[in-house]
């Protein structure tokens, strides 16, 4: 009996050791990371990958908008840590914003390509709509490469290709998308590429095709206010803390801030491919073809469309028009800018109405009076500037290009300092007025403000340059 008890107790004591190993295995650690197997080959991975591309596009715009808007006459950086160099068009390979802009654009491409090559084919639920989107995003990466850089590699550490070639690549990708699933924004993206290439007829065809599918389409970049990325440019324009202060040119004051607080979950979207652009391309093509009647019709359609776009009524009284000192810039609705009234809003006394998609000071009367001359073309460019404010196109219209980052130059054996793409492109007529791009004459209290230059006139005056006004 005693033996039995001892035996049983022994069994009991050591019987526990079967699972005891895990009690004394202290080496087991958690790897919280997501591996490739968890992504590639999984059902629905393609649609999740697509959402990743949408998110990546937000990151792209968070880089490009700050550079493009500060580099243009649209906005001046009076005292922020958003880029310090672009106001003076000091475009340098050492500027980290060059690196980050390039990286985000090329990351968009890499993600799109990986979607097309690995994620999509591995997903049983992959369909042509998603495949079309993957092609579209690949095309966008080439489009942005072309718009903002004079040359950029089109593959990892690859040979830089020219802006023109990137536009061509973009067109190929948009065509691939269109072949799978025609969407107006695909046509418009193709129209824009052709527009900047100066391919008038192709641009007109694509713009018309876009409008045929929809007369009021509006493709947006979405931002996640809660989980990020939020809209950096909304921070720059609307959110106020002591050193966030981008100031618009007074002629554009009524369009600012295009982006404002939306909700705690979603940040204001950027309307980057909208029907307005198609009308403006058509109008410019018609002006170039000396068809003022058709151009007027395009612009009338544009005004009709703009009338339908959202205008947000917001409280913007935390914004001061200041250059360190409050009120040092035009800040009242009775101020006349360049002889025109109604361009400046009084933000302190009441809520203000600001267009969140498109706004313009162009009127039906302006359109009626418009002639097929340089003044007419300048008016069209003013309208482009207004409609596309805070969307990064003005900078491209100016013909200025950023540079390849110094890290790429050092790590990519195909690039040497001094090569195309490593030197900023600034048309001479822009270089001549860099100091005046954002300059205004304004004495507080005088009620009158003027911009030192009218860049639209300067662009039109130089319309024969290959850098600007592509249809002339």
């Amino acid at each position: 009996m005693k033996k039995l008890i001892i035996f049983s107790l022994t069994i009991l004591a050591f019987g526990c050791t079967g699972d005891f190993e895990q009690v004394v295995d202290f080496k087991d650690v958690e790897n919280p990371n997501l591996s490739e197997e968890s992504v590639v080959g999984q059902p629905n991975s393609a649609s999740i990958w697509l959402t990743g591309l949408e998110r990546q596009l937000g990151l792209v715009f968070n880089e490009t908008l700050v550079l493009a808007e500060l580099g243009s006459d649209n906005y001046v950086n009076t005292q922020t840590f958003f880029n310090q160099f672009m106001d003076g068009l000091e475009i340098q390979i050492t500027d980290p914003d060059m690196r980050d802009t390039q990286r985000q654009i090329q990351r968009l491409r890499e993600l799109a390509v990986f979607g097309l090559e690995a994620v999509g084919p591995g997903d049983p639920n992959y369909n042509s709509e998603i495949e079309a989107e993957f092609n579209f995003f690949e095309g966008l990466s080439y489009l942005f490469s072309a718009m903002y850089f004079s040359a950029l590699p089109q593959e990892p550490v690859g040979v830089p290709v020219t802006s023109e070639q990137h536009y061509q690549n973009a067109i190929v990708a948009f065509d691939a998308a269109l072949a799978l699933n025609a969407k107006p924004e695909y046509h418009l993206a193709k129209a824009r590429a052709n527009y900047y290439l100066g391919n008038k007829s192709a641009a007109v065809t694509a713009a018309s095709a876009a409008l045929t599918l929809s007369g009021d389409f509006d493709r947006v970049v979405l931002f996640d206010e809660a989980n990020g990325p939020s809209n950096t440019f909304e921070n720059a324009l609307y959110q106020r803390a002591t050193f966030d202060d981008l100031q618009p040119l007074p002629t554009l004051d009524f369009l600012d801030p295009k982006y404002s607080f939306l909700s705690t979950s979603q940040d204001a979207p950027v309307h980057y491919l909208k029907a307005e652009e198609a009308y403006l391309i058509l109008a410019e093509a018609n002006l170039s073809d000396n068809d003022i009647v058709a151009a007027r019709a395009n612009l009338t359609s544009l005004l009709d469309l703009i009338d339908t776009r959202e205008v947000r009524t917001i409280n913007d009284n935390i914004e001061q028009r200041s250059q360190v000192a409050e009120g040092s810039r035009p800040d009242s609705d009775d101020i006349v800018v360049n002889g025109r009234s109604g361009l400046v809003l009084d933000r302190q006394s009441d809520l203000v109405d600001v267009p969140s998609v498109s706004g313009t000071s162009l009127t039906a009367a302006d359109v009626t009076a418009m002639q097929d001359d340089d003044a007419g073309l300048s008016l069209l460019y003013r309208t482009r500037q207004e409609v596309f404010i805070a969307e990064g196109l003005r900078f491209v219209d100016m013909g200025v290009k950023l540079v390849i980052d110094e890290n790429e130059i050092l790590l990519n054996e195909n690039i040497n300092e001094g090569d195309l793409g490593t030197v900023p492109v600034i048309p001479s007529f822009i270089a001549a007025i860099v100091g005046d791009l954002d300059a205004i004459n304004y004495v507080p209290g005088s009620g009158v403000a003027t911009t030192v230059i009218d860049l639209n006139d300067i662009l039109v005056a130089n319309k024969t340059s290959a850098s600007v006004v592509p249809f002339e």
């Binding site: 919280p32 990371n33 050492t94 990892p156 206010e225 106020r240 002591t242 790429e408 790590l411």
Partner: protein, 937 residues
């Protein structure tokens, strides 16, 4: 037969004696050292009884005993003396220094500890006496200016914030320079930066160093790296701080009660504007109560200490509260087995203001003239500004609460006289809750949202739980032959750390709540870092004629952070020490009276740092985006990733003159970090994130000199001074062809890693005056080293009877630092000091950053203190009353007119590299005046 008889008679004799001299008498006397100075605290026991006492501060004692009994006098560093009680009731004893006993034992990380004279490496030691004098409550503040070769730089004056600690230069671009911290053999959380998901305040972050228990410290050993740290495990390349707590002493029980009261004042020395102090500074009070018990018998001794501390800081909003208790004990379980245990609990609550890198920072706003030239406001305008800043201050709400428990158990088993087994097991668990509430009211006051907004409040809460388990088993063997001695240690160590963080963010909230349930939008994120590290180590120390010691050993180490294809690492060490002055011929020679100690040492050792666990993996990320999942690339992956390895060679000499009253120590070190972990920019065209890689090599070379002198040593007076001077020459010798990359600061004015420059040097575009009077803009110009290449500390200690006076200071020179507040002022057009006219307004100030970079030289007096022991006067109620006063940070001299220490904004990631090259937007360590009164029982 005779011996046997004696044995038999002895008990009889004792019995007879006690019988015949049954009456006890009081024996009293005085104990002095060999120079005649009174020795306080000498333990006196009546041999064979538990009856014992200690000498008082004048070396006097009295004890009841009987004639014929034997009194044993013992004291650290002195030869034990035994005296038989005769007819006289006065026994005065002059003790002699014991050369062997003076061999301070260094814990060395493993085994039973080895005498300092046998070690070829240097260790800075801070003992209980030094520690008790200092009013500091943080380990980094204790070490500052008291360790000869460590740079401890307080990065902000706000409570609980991290100090940058480094010794032999920056060895790694991948981690902070913070040493491993070990309390009674147990690793403790030493995160000296904001956690990965931590709440950003724009700079100053609460550090884990703030709540490491500092009560009841017996001694602190600072082991600087190289061969000395080889055996400590694979992440000890930055050095090790070893804290040994009190476990009580065999002898008389004692207790104390201490109360400290202090005044804390913000220092205005570095302010640009007096108005900054007017707006923010408000002298605060500090209060602390401490109690302690200590005592024990031969079988069991114990120590307990508890403390409550609070202060309301030097400004209008900061506060901190610290509650702690600790106990330790030693139990002699059997003749062979000893058990030591220690436990500590610390609760630390503090709050922070916004700093530097956020426009919410009041300090940065005023100093950076964010709302216009601070001095140009009219009085009326300034009153409005002042009121606004006060209102903001009342609404700022960033809090941190930490609870930390550290428990250590050590078992020491003497198998026989030569063989001892040590086993250690313990844990450190540290839980922190950070909260930041941005109420609507605060955001409106800051001008961030429109007045009247009530639904945009935000609340963030970060929960971090850090747990470390340490176990260690080793066996030490000691053997002696006529001419040789052997100490052999063989052991195994295992530790695992786990760091779990959860962050909850609520936005769209109304005011009046701290519950995330009440916020309309809720987001969360988590982070986990787990690592297990295990290794086998051995050490052999061979004594040759008891003058030279050859030491060699190594550690075979594995951890779960390295890739699966990574082999175990072997880290070797070897060293030799030669104590020339220990030769008999030398001791007998006349020169030994002048040059009393001559010691030469040399060693080589390796230590490593590993990258963040799993950073070799190619990974993907799934980010929540507008309510759905979204994939993207994450870490690109690197199969070849291994630990970086620091190979250090060290030579040293120690010279003691006039019985070591003048002691000089010099060390030359060369440390080379092989396979240094760099994270350079990937080519932007790859579209990939940057990947950590073993592509670098970093070299640190330098000298460490220490002087300790006792110019006055008389019966009543004792004056000792210490002075140290260290150099560090740091160079990135190889960057594996990677382009220079930024590890701190801004990219246009960054702390940069580049081949041929020091790690983290300052780089930016400089405007250089040309012969024709114009300025050329030179991008990527080297603007200086952020680590001061020359530094040291000094101390003075004077004792006159019961009175003690001490002072400590430290200094650095030769490095550079950016004054970012100045840059901000200049950007805002309010400060053009020293900027050439031709540049102002013509280009971005980021094109002439050389004008914002200054020398980071300073000499700072850290502590001045005095104490008086009332001794006799206090009796019989107390055994002693000690009155002490200390002033911290009373004086300083800096090269620039800003504080080069306030670099809290420079640490970017968890445990990230801290260059310290940017002084920015946070208050300096305050000036404190503390009076303490200690009652000893």
């Amino acid at each position: 037969m005779r011996a046997k008889l004696a044995w038999m008679l002895t008990p009889l004799l004792v019995l007879c004696m006690s019988f015949s001299y049954g009456q006890e008498k009081t024996i009293s006397g005085n104990v002095t050292d060999q120079t005649g100075l009174p020795l306080p605290g000498v333990s006196i026991v009546v041999v064979g009884t538990t009856n014992g006492t200690q000498t008082d501060f004048d070396g006097n004692y009295s004890i009841s005993a009987s004639t014929g009994q034997v009194l044993r006098f013992s004291y650290i560093g002195q030869k034990t003396v035994e005296r038989t009680i005769g007819t006289s009731s006065t026994i005065n004893v002059q003790m002699e220094e014991d050369a062997q006993a003076l061999e301070e034992v260094i814990v060395t990380g493993q085994g039973s500890g080895i005498a300092r004279r046998k070690l070829s490496t240097t260790v800075d030691v801070l003992d209980a006496e030094d520690i008790d004098k200092l009013p500091a409550n943080q380990i980094d503040q204790l070490l500052q200016s008291t360790t000869p070769s460590a740079q401890v730089r307080l990065s902000s004056g706000q409570p609980g914030t991290a100090a940058i600690i480094r010794t032999r230069g920056p060895i790694s671009a991948a981690s902070s320079a913070t040493p491993v911290i070990i309390v009674d053999g147990i690793r403790v959380d030493n995160l000296n930066s904001n956690p990965q998901l931590g709440i950003g305040t724009g700079g100053a972050n609460v550090s884990a160093l703030a709540d490491i228990p500092v009560e009841s410290i017996e001694k602190i050993e600072y082991i600087k790296g190289g061969a000395a740290t080889t055996l400590y495990g694979a992440d000890a390349a930055n050095g090790v701080i070893q804290i040994i707590t009190k476990k009580g002493k065999d002898g008389k029980s004692s207790a104390f009660f201490e109360t400290n009261i202090g005044v804390i004042k913000g220092t205005t020395d570095y302010l640009k504007y007096d108005r900054t102090a007017e707006a923010l500074f408000e002298p605060g009070l500090s209060q602390e109560f401490k109690v302690g018990l200590n005592g024990g018998s031969e079988k069991f001794s114990y120590n307990f200490a508890g403390a409550l501390y609070t202060d309301d800081s030097f400004n209008d909003i900061n506060e901190q509260i610290r509650r702690s208790f600790t106990f330790g004990f030693t139990a002699k379980v059997t003749e062979k087995l000893q058990y030591q245990g220690s436990f500590s609990y610390v609760n630390f609550e503090s709050n922070l203001d916004y700093n530097a890198n956020t426009s919410f920072s009041r300090f940065s706003g005023i100093e950076g003239s964010a709302r216009g030239d601070t001095d140009a406001f009219t009085d009326a305008e300034w009153q409005d500004e002042l009121a606004r800043y006060r209102r903001i201050g009342e609404l700022v709400d960033i809090t941190s609460t930490t609870n930390r428990i550290t428990a250590a158990n050590k078992f020491i088993y003497d198998i026989n006289d030569a063989l001892q087994v040590n086993a250690t097991i313990g844990i450190d668990t540290r839980n922190t809750v950070q909260e930041s509430l941005q109420s609507n009211a605060l955001l409106v006051e800051l001008g961030s949202i429109a007045p009247g907004t009530t639904d945009q409040g935000a609340l963030s809460r970060v929960l971090r739980s850090a747990f470390t388990l340490t176990t260690d088993v080793n066996i030490t063997h000691r053997a002696n032959t006529d001419n040789f001695s052997f100490v052999s240690i063989l052991g195994g160590q295992f530790f695992r750390t786990s760091d779990r963080q959860n962050r909850l963010d609520g936005s769209g909230g109304v005011d009046g709540t701290r519950s995330l349930n009440n916020f309309s939008e809720q987001a969360f994120s988590d982070f986990v870092l787990e690592n297990a590290n295990y290794g086998l180590y051995f050490l052999e120390n061979i004594g040759i004629y008891n003058v030279a010691f050859l030491e060699f050993g190594g550690r075979l180490d594995r951890n779960t952070a390295s890739g699966s294809n990574t082999d175990a690492l072997f880290l070797p060490k070897v060293g030799i020490t030669y104590n020339l002055s220990d030769h008999d011929f030398y001791r007998d020679a006349a020169i030994s009276n002048v040059l009393s100690t001559v010691r030469l040492r040399a060693n080589y050792g390796e230590a490593t740092n590993f990258a963040q666990p799993f950073s070799q993996d190619r990974t993907f990320a799934q980010n929540p985006f507008l309510g759905g999942p979204s994939f993207t690339f994450n870490n690109p992956g690197n199969d070849e990733l291994v630990s970086e390895r620091v190979k250090t060679t060290e030579f040293g000499v120690e010279l003691g003159f006039f019985n070591n009253r003048l002691f000089l120590s010099g060390t030359r070190y060369v440390g080379v970090t092989k396979d240094a972990l760099f994270t350079p920019q990937s080519a932007p065209s790859t579209g990939q994130l940057n990947q950590i890689q073993n592509i670098g090599e970093v070299e640190n070379k330098g000298y460490e000199f220490e002087l300790r002198a006792t110019p006055i040593q008389t019966e009543k007076h004792n004056l000792s001074v210490t002075l140290s001077y260290n150099t560090n020459d740091n160079l990135v010798t190889d960057s594996g062809g990677a382009p220079a990359f930024v590890v701190g600061g801004f990219t246009v004015l960054g702390s940069v890693v580049e081949e041929g420059q020091s790690l983290g040097y300052l780089r930016g575009t400089a405007a250089v005056l040309q012969d024709d009077g114009t300025y050329a803009f030179e991008p990527n110009t080297a603007l200086g080293d952020t680590f001061a290449p020359n530094f040291g500390s000094m101390g003075l200690n004077y004792t006159w009877g019961d009175f003690n006076f001490f002072a400590t200071a430290d200094y650095q020179f030769g490095g550079k630092i950016t004054d970012l507040s100045f840059l901000l002022r200049h950007l805002r057009g309010t400060d053009d000091t020293g900027i050439p006219e031709e540049l102002i307004g013509t280009t971005s100030p980021f094109n002439y950053v050389n004008f914002f970079v200054f020398d980071n030289d300073f000499l700072k007096v850290r502590n001045i203190g005095a104490s008086y022991n009332f001794g006799e006067i206090a009796k019989p109620l107390f055994s002693n009353i000690r009155l002490g006063v200390t002033v911290t940070n009373p004086f300083n001299w800096t090269a620039g007119n800003f504080d080069p220490e306030t670099t809290g904004s420079g640490i970017s990631a968890q445990n990230g590299f801290a260059s310290g090259g940017f002084a920015y937007g946070t208050e300096s360590a305050p000036r404190t005046y503390v009076a303490s009164l200690r009652f000893e029982f």
